[in-house]
């Protein structure tokens, strides 16, 4: 699907000095295989609060293939980060609890295995790169210590072997002079370098899946671009599946192969990234993409989504987007939970009259009891 557009840069190469990196193959080729490495089925994570039960993740399913980047897009409070924490079984309990579903990785259900086994999965088979590199790194330990900790636990290395592996991990994330940098403390590094160290910890044990939870929001544009490119390169080298959690459609356009759009704890649309941008069906997806100003051209007045994201306690059983929808629908249409329907191969939409313009076109796909 993703083909490398060979832009002509020959004439530029002559004038360029070696130090300027020009991306010649678009943004790297995807190396997606058909092998599904992670499968999440009807995952439900609830939080008990004094206002009621918050269904932060309300029965969502998705999968990640080897070498693929799945983008999970949504606003704050849509449940995208809780999804990630649930995979790692890091949801604070109480108040949170994973109340249902399964997470299949390497033939076992991560929600069923013991806490001890889970410890070896965390940072071993799945690792997570968090948003704020300053919070993810401990200021009183040096870099070698922090990168080494994960390697010590998962690969049982010691002494010079451990040191070599640490330097190797730092080299993989393109930290210049890794032997020297390994002895530095976090405050001695720039923001971009710190985020690379967090990345080095993430990839040190060759995980099958990396969860990247908005890893670039605190970085400058140029540093962000370099970091995204790096993630993509590592993915090509290691064939790792990436779950990229973000609210920025620019990152989705640049990084992701497939996209799942979340709203109020549910997935409202999943499709290939080009389908999401070219022919989105759910009103929320359309509105989100439309409300971002474009860099490439002078944008006229932006269409905006009216209203606020919903409060997550006591959500209606039906379509949570209905209160913000501009479509015509009756109360009956939003009484039931809308089903996720496969309208085209691999293009799934949460189908309801309140959220899909061409509802009638797809009505025949609806489960029989609704008809």
């Amino acid at each position: 699907m993703v083909d490398s557009t060979d832009t002509t840069v020959e004439e530029k190469d002559e004038v360029l000095s070696d130090s300027v990196a020009v991306d010649t193959d678009g943004f790297g080729k995807s190396v997606i295989s058909e092998e599904v490495i992670l499968e999440v089925n009807s995952l439900e994570t609830h939080f008990t609060t004094r206002w009621g039960t918050v269904k932060a993740v309300d029965g969502i399913s998705y999968h990640v293939k080897r070498g693929e980047t799945l983008g999970i897009v949504g606003e704050s409070g849509s449940g995208k980060s809780v999804t990630a924490l649930s995979l790692m079984r890091l949801v604070p309990s109480p108040p949170g609890a994973i109340v249902g579903g399964e997470v299949l990785l390497g033939g076992r259900d991560l929600l069923q295995i013991s806490e001890k086994e889970m410890t070896s999965v965390r940072g071993g088979e799945i690792s997570i790169i968090l948003q704020d590199p300053m919070q993810a790194l401990n200021p009183v330990f040096n870099i070698a210590n922090q990168v080494g900790e994960a390697i010590k636990i998962h690969q049982k290395l010691k002494g010079p072997a451990l040191w070599d592996k640490v330097v190797d991990s730092l080299r993989k994330v393109r930290i210049p002079a890794p032997e020297l940098r390994a002895k530095d403390f976090p405050h001695q590094l720039s923001g971009g370098m710190r985020q690379r160290v967090v990345g080095a910890i993430g990839i040190s044990s060759s995980p099958a899946v990396i969860i990247a939870d908005e890893p670039t929001t605190s970085l400058d544009v140029t540093i962000q671009a370099a970091y995204l490119r790096l993630l993509r390169q590592i993915q090509q080298e290691e064939g790792v599946g990436i779950i990229f959690i973000t609210h920025d459609f620019g990152i989705v356009a640049k990084m992701c192969d497939r996209v799942a759009v979340m709203y109020a704890g549910r997935i409202v649309e999943v499709a290939d990234v080009r389908t999401i941008f070219n022919t989105p069906l759910h009103e929320y997806t359309k509105a989100l993409i439309g409300s971002v100003p474009k860099l490439e051209e002078k944008t006229g007045r932006l269409p905006q989504i009216e209203g606020q994201p919903p409060l997550l306690y006591n959500l209606p059983e039906g379509d949570a987007f209905a209160p913000r929808s501009t479509l015509e629908f009756t109360e009956e249409d939003v009484a039931k939970r809308p089903p996720l329907i496969e309208v085209e191969p691999d293009h799934w939409v949460q189908m309801s009259r309140s959220s899909v313009t061409d509802y009638d076109k797809y009505a025949h796909l609806m489960p029989a009891e609704d008809a």
């Binding site: 606003e75 860099l295 490439e296 932006l302």
Partner: protein, 366 residues
């Protein structure tokens, strides 16, 4: 082509004309040769060389009536310091700010009060910029209590009006900030900024902390308010797409110095400086089929402490720098390369010389 020595008039004889300013601009705020240097070391008891952090170094621009001026650059480029200097939150080391053609520092007391009333601010983070212990009515009404002689009843009415104008409900005046979402809090911040009928509002990353679906609401609100009240904005942002949407004119800053400035569309249609091109090339695309070549400049942003005496950009350019060249030892000026489009031109700063010209529209596939 060199218009640097050309005598440009700005409509007001008292304001000096400098490169980078378009003649005949209908300026409400004119900033001229603004410098903010912080002493970070040296100079013990008056001896020895002082070490300066040059946060803002010789910056000049005009904010026109009813228009938006954008400042872009990476963290540490001095854009926020410039905004603070305009608001009077920092005292400039040298340079002048003119408000409606009048030097702010030599204004009478009444004039200064008027200036402070007319220039308001909206900040980036709506979670930390509103006092959590104050009700909305006090937050929005506070400027009215301090700066006007309005009665309590008049203030309450005005607060209600301001809230409805910014898309909130007047009854929400009795609530506390924590009872609002991020977008609503930003609306409260905007209502407060509007309270004294300002003419200029400084916007420091007004949407970057907000959710995507809310950003368009706030940007549209700002655009509407600008039209209704004839406001001028100074927008500090790092998101280039936001700048292109909101700004009429803009300046790209690097290490405290403006590298390229002019009309927003002129710059986006033809970015000339290597640094501008690097920023644009690194910006995220709006569609997966747009694949821009990224130019990663060698090195990282250098420290603004004792920057090079010549062109500050020379340590980042991919081209060769002649250490004996005039602009390696002396600060190069902005040159008007096409009408209303100014750029720092040195043998190593132009994107066309380096073959690093970014094509914004060229890669649009299906």
């Amino acid at each position: 082509m060199t218009t640097t020595e050309q005598n440009v008039t700005t409509g007001n004889a008292a304001i000096p004309s400098v490169p980078g300013i378009n003649p005949g601009a209908d300026a409400i705020i004119s900033i001229r040769n603004l410098r903010k240097w912080y002493q970070v070391g040296g100079g013990f008891l008056g001896f020895g060389d002082k070490i300066w952090l040059k946060a803002v170094d010789d910056v000049s621009f005009d904010i026109e009536h009813n228009k938006t001026f954008g400042l872009v650059g990476e963290s540490g480029c001095g854009k926020t310091t410039t905004l603070k200097l305009l608001l009077g939150l920092e005292k400039p080391t040298s340079g002048t700010i003119y408000y409606e053609g009048e030097d702010v520092t030599t204004m009478t007391k009444a004039g200064k009060t008027e200036f402070r009333r007319s220039v308001q601010a909206v900040f980036q983070d709506p979670w930390s910029s509103l006092n959590p212990r104050m009700r909305v009515r006090s937050i929005v009404g506070e400027p009215l209590e301090i700066a006007t002689s309005m009665t309590k009843g008049q203030i309450a009415t005005r607060v209600g009006d301001l809230l409805s104008e910014t898309g909130l409900n007047p009854y929400q005046a009795n609530l506390y900030p924590h009872e609002f979402s991020g977008g609503q809090r930003q609306r409260i911040g905007i209502a407060r900024a509007l309270a004294l009928n300002p003419k200029v509002i400084a916007l420091d990353e007004p949407v970057s902390a907000l959710d995507v679906s809310i950003r368009a609401q706030i940007m549209n609100l700002l655009v509407d308010l600008q039209e209704e009240h004839g406001l001028a904005y100074l927008l500090v942002a790092h998101n280039l797409a936001t700048v292109r949407y909101m700004c009429h004119d803009m300046a790209v800053m690097y290490l405290g110095v403006v590298q390229e400035s002019g009309e927003t569309e002129a710059i986006f249609n033809n970015p000339m400086h290597i640094y501008t091109n690097a920023l644009v090339s690194a910006a995220l695309p709006s569609h997966p089929d747009i694949q821009r070549e990224e130019f990663l400049l060698p090195g990282e942003v250098v420290s603004p402490i004792n920057p090079p005496p010549g062109d500050v950009f020379m340590t980042r350019t991919p081209l060769e720098v002649d250490p004996n060249h005039k602009w390696a030892n002396e600060r190069p000026p902005l040159v008007e390369k096409e009408p209303g489009h100014w750029v720092v031109e040195t043998p190593w700063s132009m994107a066309s010389d380096a073959g690093l010209k970014v094509e914004l529209t060229g890669h649009k596939g299906v």
